[in-house]
Amino acid sequence: MVEHRRFGNFLPHLVLLIGVAIVAFPVYMAVIASTHDNAVIANGQMPLTPGTLGFENYWHTLTAGTGRTTRAPVGGMMLNSFVMAVGIALGKIAISIISAYAIVFFSFPFRMTAFWIIFVTLMLPVEVRIYPTYKIASDLHLLDSYAGLTLPLIASATATLLFRQFFMTVPKELVEASKIDGAGPLRFFKDTLLPLSLTNIAALFVILFIYGWNQYLWPLLITTRDDMQTIVIGIKKIIDVHDALTEWNVAMATAVLAMLPPVLVVITMQRLFVKGLIETEK
């Protein structure tokens, strides 16, 4: 029961505000730091109000980078990260929706075997199979390429499982009605199953985009060229300098820039997500 007492309203809000402050303060600090000259931050007098160099810092970060450790502009890194994240998200969705379709709606020999083999890959994330995966990628000449960044991360069971669970809730009469209406398997997939899955696809895209965007270990191994670096690696490299002053303003601008795409994806997809939740009815 929710009670409406003045004090009862005040206390939860206080707790929530404290929580928000704890989470938001570091982000605020990053934004502030990205608008000052590096010298101001480096001498230990971290200001709490925005500086005047915001535009210059971001422009410099996007177009030139640090010039020392990363030797590449952050704009290029963002493009790399974006291509990788979108590639992984779309690739995973495409592969898993097709395999889930086969597993749920068709009966063929070794159907359950196929399902279990897909399922078992859940226990083998990239970190576990890193050496063989690297060996294969390198033998296929995929090092320092977008294909190398995305392909090995596309094969996974999570999305297949999710689609399988969803497909199993689709009433079988819908399949039968389609058959009687003269829709073959491909047409049923395109005309009925895909539109019904739209919400699931949107939700998965959000999750997988962030998963792809945040990848660290695999891009670190597979990319050696400066122009193929992703932004997550870039942040680490910008901070990690020897015998020199870390360019904190650039590092913070990079961090803020790295946060933006996932935030944008969540905000834009959330609408579709909620809309779909309300509208979809099987």
Binding site: P171, E173, L174, E176, A177, K179, I180, D181, G182, A183, R187, D191, T192, P195, L196, E279, T280, E281, K282
Partner: protein, 365 residues
Amino acid sequence: MASVVLNEVRKTYAGGFEAVKGVSFTVSDGGLCVLVGPSGCGKSTLLRMVAGLETVSSGDIRIGERRVNDLEPMARDIAMVFQNYALYPHMSVFDNMAYGLRNRGTPKPEIEKRVKEAARILELDALLERKPRQLSGGQRQRVAMGRAIVRKPAAFLFDEPLSNLDAKLRVQMRIEIRKLQRELKTTSIYVTHDQLEAMTLADRLVVMNGGHMEQVGTALDVFQNPASVFVAGFIGSPPMNFLAGEVDTQGRLRLPDGAFLAFDPKRGEAQVGRKVLAGLRPENVALRNGVEDGAAPRFRLELVEELGMGRLVHGKVGERPFTVAQGASDPPPSGYSLSIGIEPALVHLFDAASGLSLTSAAPRR
């Protein structure tokens, strides 16, 4: 337009379970045949075999001149109405009805014309742009019907189409389906477990039980001359009462408690000493106050249900539950010592062992 002919159709599942055990019947061109039976009797399986959604283990199914056993559902020229409607949730009412036509490459103006026409017949004109979720149950049902009729198929198949509607709407839609079917004159097979629905809709009634046919005939014929105890108990509401007894030397039925029940000896073979079940329709039985005639079966009153247009009197005759349906003008039962009486010609007799009718002239098919 075509007739549908089933000949010794069987369905055996991989596990060896025989769901349909050799069923043969014919639905004449433009007729409405109702398959009725309790759940698990194989009626839906049979319908799905006609639709092509289940394979046929043996036997022939013909729609018109063609043997359709090995044809895909879309090639069979049938349309089906499902229990849960199975409308495409993401498509508008118009698209739901047009989908089957589009897949068959019907020209656009023709699709437009047919859907509009169906919408007019079903009074869906104003709803064509809506999505199924914005419709009421009855409207969805109509869209499902519309999807079937725009195709102008050789046969309609209905799989318990009214089960998801509330009681009042069900009666209304039942009448509409009947009217529509008469108007379109499309051969139809209709599956239901509701005997009342079956009685009111059927040109021809197929009563099924445990995978085989119990009886085929017109609704009235099946009601008046049930071929077996199962049919007698299944068709009619409230269901028929049964009393066990033995035929005595005077051609009467002797009940275990010593009472006698007269039956029409001309109505069938009933040799002396044969163990039989007597079937008495609740509406044919008269209740008499008091036990003036010692030979009449005694009725122990348990409960009276007042229905307004009559009443149902529940009780027991011997150890068997027994219901009497009274009209509103009949005097309500008074006191607890009652007896029952019935016209001898209205007593049905069934063999106690086989359950087959001794009085019905209708051959069991």
